[in-house]
């Protein structure tokens, strides 16, 4: 329990650190978000000079950061707005609340990520286990080679190849959008099937380029566990192979991969920006790019914060549940956690 409290404290500290960092990027940096925002508003006015006071108010109301107030006051304002869940208003979407945009797009990113993570781990774990059982065979060697080769392809390169060859040349999968146009969102076969169909290529880009290293790690872990004494004892006791494979080898080999799972969540959340741009998939990363293109600082900083918060919270949940999987963690030896 002590460990849990410590970990929770750390998560909250991280959230605070990220929020402070983002304030620094907006307010303290010369040419930072506040300056970009002011010059953009000035441009929008086209010739007619906006008085400095009015400009300041506009920036303050949209970014929650007052460029002229003393730093501690501006900081307090920004933080209290964040705590209330207010990320300001977007310029790109005509003053719409950044909150509403995030609420509309975040579920899609989460959907894409869960699909990729599930697919990747399902393939990597089973393949790694089979490779370990057939250690040294042609199957093992071939898969090791293919795994290394595929994991040296960046996911966005895979995405580009998929779009060109599976999207345009042989149109098997749609290459843009979240669901088929003309289908109303709801619990219908068309909508859900269409959503999966649209998510297939982005998810495959992650899976194909990511499973290799994971499978190799699983293979290594399984080989190590297979050599343990308790596995030999279990065999000598005449336990059925199935039970040994699942309960004795599988469990212990998968455990260290839990850390990989947590790391891959952070990696995918980040990588989703690139894939969502390439597939024009309106998730949270896509909106972050819109914020960047239109120099829409509230949208950019808001999506950045939500992505970061999402990863911090996901890692916190992951670490908190790790104790359920590995009882050793509760003994307070926290060096085991990573």
């Amino acid at each position: 329990m002590n460990w849990f409290i410590k970990r929770t404290g750390q998560a909250i500290f991280t959230l605070w650190a990220v929020a402070t960092l983002s304030f620094g990027l907006i307010r303290l940096m010369p040419g930072g978000a506040a300056d970009i925002m002011a010059s953009r508003l000035q441009q929008q006015a086209q010739g007619s000079n906006i008085p400095r006071e009015q400009l300041r108010e506009m920036v303050a109301s949209q970014l929650n950061v007052d460029p002229d107030a003393p730093i501690h006051e501006a900081y307090y304002q920004y933080m209290s707005a964040l705590v209330q869940g207010d990320f300001g208003n977007s310029i790109r979407y005509g003053g719409q609340e950044v909150n509403a945009i995030i609420a509309d797009t975040l579920p899609w990113t989460l959907f894409l990520m869960s699909l990729s993570t599930l697919g990747m781990f399902a393939i990597a774990l089973s393949l790694g286990a089979i490779m370990a059982y057939k250690e040294g065979s042609t199957f093992d060697l071939a898969n090791t080679g293919v795994g290394i080769l595929l994991s040296s392809i960046p996911y966005y390169v895979a995405a580009v190849v998929f779009i060109a060859f599976l999207g345009y040349r042989t149109p098997l999968f749609p290459v843009r959008g979240r669901y088929p146009s003309g289908v109303d969102p709801g619990f219908t076969v068309e909508f859900i099937g269409g959503a999966f169909h649209h998510a297939m290529l982005p998810a495959l880009s992650f899976i194909v380029t990511g499973y290799g290293l994971l499978a190799l790690t699983m293979r290594g872990n399984s080989i190590q566990v297979l050599g343990e004494d308790y596995v030999r004892v279990a065999r000598l006791r005449g336990l059925p192979d199935r039970r040994i494979a699942l309960r004795y080898v599988g469990r212990n080999a998968v455990l260290p991969l839990y850390t990989s799972l947590l790391i891959s969540i952070g990696f995918m959340f980040g990588g989703s920006i690139i894939l969502e741009i390439l597939f024009q998939y309106r998730g949270i990363g896509f909106e972050m790019n819109e914020g960047i293109i239109y120099r829409d600082m509230p949208l950019m900083m808001g999506t950045f914060l939500v992505i970061t918060f999402g990863v911090v919270i996901a890692l916190w949940i992951g670490d908190a549940t790790y104790g359920k999987l590995d009882p050793r963690i509760k003994s307070g030896d926290d060096s085991e956690a990573y």
Partner: protein, 367 residues
Amino acid sequence: MTVKPTDDDAVKPTDGGSSSVDGSRTDGGQMFSQAEITEVTRTQRYQEWFAESIAEPFRIAWSDWRTKVGLLIIAGFLLMGLVAWISSSTWFVLERIVLVDSPIANQGSPRLQPLEDMSHPLGTDMNGRDLISGVVHATPTMIQMILAGAVFAIVVAVIVGTVAGYKGGTTETVLMTASDVAMTIPGLPLVIVLVVLIEPQSPWLIGIIITINVWAGIARTIHSQVLSLRENSYVEASRTMGIGTPTIIQKDILPNLMPYVLVNFVYASRRVIYDSVALYFLGFLSFRGVENWGVMMHLAYANASALLNPEATYMLIVPMLPIVVLSFGLMLFAQGTDRLFSPRVRTRNEGKSNTDETDEPDPMTGV
């Protein structure tokens, strides 16, 4: 051969020693007249150091096919960088030598397919820039980015990891909390925001921005490694003898961390390649010429619609090849070096004890 005595040699050169008249040594001088045994010249020392720290690990690495192929690919890439550097150098001797032309518009007729015109074997882009020129001339800046990024990440990680691990106490808590926080922040979104706000031009700066929080994960690994290393008896021996912390870290701890440093250097390099190309490809970084493979991809994607148009797909594929090949080389190298992790090999490379024959380092001679 001139024999130079080194500072820590207890025995003086004995050419004249046996004939000297002071009676402190009667026959001992004769015994040590064969100077090679006791006197280690600086050259010999460097030779020994070279054999232990470079030649031996290299031989072990070379015996594995993965590291062999990986090293060859990395060497080829460095060679490509050298070719580009020589070709674009304006230094007086090198100015005349142009091995590969710089990529400029209208080098050839635009949109040449690969193998269509053998003076441009991989074809040209929509402005008539030769694609080989583009690929080759993007290499030096890529090397700069990798060096800046990977060195930055490794140096910070090693300092944070070893100091936290060895000192312990409050230092450890503060440093490790900082790494945990930095590690939880997803890298790419932070990098994109920083790049958009800072608009960096220099490849060195871009490299450092990309690895802005990569050090954290490596520092964690090194920290946990140091925690187990500091309990070793030879470290304890050094401590008992009153040797200072910086010396212990430098002489007893760091040599053992080299495999981790090497492997993580490779992974950090791969990260720099992936992310820098992605940043250019998606247009987050501004560019003037075709200074990165990502720029070539961006131009093919945005200006030649290479995805839709089968006639233009090669413009996207060609710059993708060096990325994949290079990261394949790095991956193979990293996968192969796990041999260097094996304790037997490491004992040999311990470097501190000169006893090559014994397998275990002697704690007494080890210091």
